[in-house]
Amino acid sequence: MPAPAERRIIFRHIDEPGYSRDLACYQRNGGYTTLRKALAMAPAAIIDEVKKSGLRGRGGAGFGCGLKWSLVDRKSGKPIYLVVNADESEPGTFKDRYIIHQDPHQLIEGIMISCWANNVKQAYIYIRGEFPHGARILEEAIAEARAAGLVGPNILGSGYGCEIYVHRGAGAYICGEETGLIESLEGKRPYPRIKPPYFPAVLGLYQCPTIVNNVETLCHVKYIVEVGGEAFAQIGTPNNTGTRILCVSGHVQRPGYYEYEVGRITLGQLLHEVCGGPLPGRKFKAVIPGGSSAKILRWGESFTLKNKDGSSRTLAVEDLPMDFDTMAACGTMGGSGGVIVMDDSVNMVEALANINAFYAHESCGQCTPCREGSLWMKRITSRMVHGDARAEDGALLRSVADQIAGRTICAFGEACSWPTQSFVAKFGDEFTAYPAAKRAPRPEGAAELA
């Protein structure tokens, strides 16, 4: 079956010749008419449309956006904040970058609509520190919008006012985790908070009710208000609605970003037809489907999945539809949409050593299992690739990982143990074979995948 055509909604204008990121160009293309429409609607009606749309968050967890909004404490009398998660720090993910750099007003319109819907008077965009130009572009776009009465007091003459400010991070992955992000926005170390009681919807920024949404999610909100929740729900597949941007990197002919209806394209179609297949003379070996934290899939494995009516079906890995529910049913996750491809030139011990170095560097250090465990996993895989691999290392890695997941304050505990658990489970033979291969010791530090 040939791959379906891309359906560009959020990325409609990305890389379009002649399209520029200024307000005039955005408005020539219909920009901010949806904000005008939204301001004529009752806020509750907008939340209703978002609920009907079935939109799930695009930042990683795939949590229902309408449900998240309905959990906001609206009785506390405290201000409600909206915080845009533009940290884009999950390895393998590179979509929000293009929205910010090439179409910032799409995001700003999505933010203003979401603020109106939730009675928010102050929004912050938390952008990773490594996007200095992105931060400047957003500031300029906000200034333009403010000058045109689209942001600030009395938006479009409606009497409603809302400000947006840009806040820069400084290179720490854990700031992508929503409560770590909030701490960082308060000017502190980004130590994630314990839930309960610190659910952002109740006790978020400055202990006020707070909504944290990903950049792409808020652009979808704009589109939902444009076409209506029911029309949006027709796109994609049931419970996996709309389009999403899939970011493909690693060993394919045409890596890049592609927007598809959720669940309407299979992993095989994406990698073979859209991305041109493996590099010359190579074969696919493994795929991480949703950012480096997601559990790895082995090329060639198959999955038996339950149908709604209780029967079951067996799907080869290349026939898996790329949606939240299928990925979860296969023991991994759609996550952030970052698809990382490895071919048969890759040794899985070395690939895991690379990933483990990332997590050991990024643990915030609050919880002992995560701080010590991520370091141990890094040390073991690093020792292995430096010529001192032992037969029991696979089992040792598994036992360390198993003692982290589920025992930590934040989901980083899972994020750092899932790679190790899944690599060892699915490529155990390579971990066993590694000591016998007696690889030449690598120069100190030059190790992984050099």
């Binding site: 884009e88 720090s89 999950e90 390895p91 393998g92 993910t93 590179f94 929000d96 970058r97 990773r128 520190g129 490594e130 996007f131 200095p132 130009h133 400010y165 806040h167 820069r168 991070g169 400084a170 290179g171 720490a172 992955y173 960082s184 926005l185 308060e186 000017g187 502190k188 170390r189 980004p190 400055y206 970011c247 493909v248 990197s249 690693g250 060993h251 890596p255 890049g256 970003y257 991480i288 480096s292 970052g338 990382i340 490895m342 890759v346 690939a351 690379n354 990933i355 170095a357 990332f358 560097h361 990024e362 530090g445 030059a446 992984e448 995948l449 050099a450």
Partner: protein
């Protein structure tokens, strides 16, 4: 500490963006580091006084976040992404090329003071790996040949400066 008037203006403006002054810590540190190149102890003291905090409240931020640095670096900052997608596409070779071109090791200032080379984690541009950032500029598809080209550019600029 001698901050440019423009930096001071930006700092006063950004403090007004938050209902709680402390929130401005990261933005102030960025502004100062951009102005003077790193964050010496005086910068920590200055930010603490400006935001009515204890110096430790600022120091703990400086020491946690990888982008903040307490010591001067080379004139140009070469950051090579080493995370999985870039490594799969040869980032370690890219980094070794820069090290050779400037006769230096990762984490050190090159002997001529021209560059500091560092590994960094995923820069969110994995589709065009390997990725390198030189100061604020992103460079895509930086294989060893491209790394030599970028190095030549930096050296030529240094020669022009004399």
């Amino acid at each position: 500490m001698n901050l440019k008037p423009e930096t001071l203006r930006r700092i006063d403006e950004v403090i007004t963006h938050y209902p709680v002054k402390r929130s401005a810590v990261l933005m102030l540190l960025h502004a100062i580091q951009e102005d003077i190149g790193h964050l010496p102890p005086e910068a920590v003291q200055w930010v603490a006084a400006k935001l009515e905090l204890q110096p430790i409240n600022v120091q703990e931020v400086v020491t946690f976040y990888p982008m903040f640095r307490q010591h001067p670096i080379g004139r140009r900052h070469i950051k090579v992404c080493r995370t999985l997608s870039c490594a799969l596409r040869g980032a370690y070779g890219t980094c070794a090329t820069f090290e050779k071109e400037f006769s230096t090791k990762r984490g050190e200032v090159s002997p001529d003071g021209e560059v500091t080379i560092e590994f960094v984690e995923c820069l969110a541009s994995c589709g065009t790996a390997p990725i390198v950032m030189i100061d604020d500029e992103l460079h895509e598809n930086v294989d060893p040949a491209a790394a030599r080209g970028l190095s030549d550019g930096i050296k030529a600029e240094a020669a022009r400066r004399g």
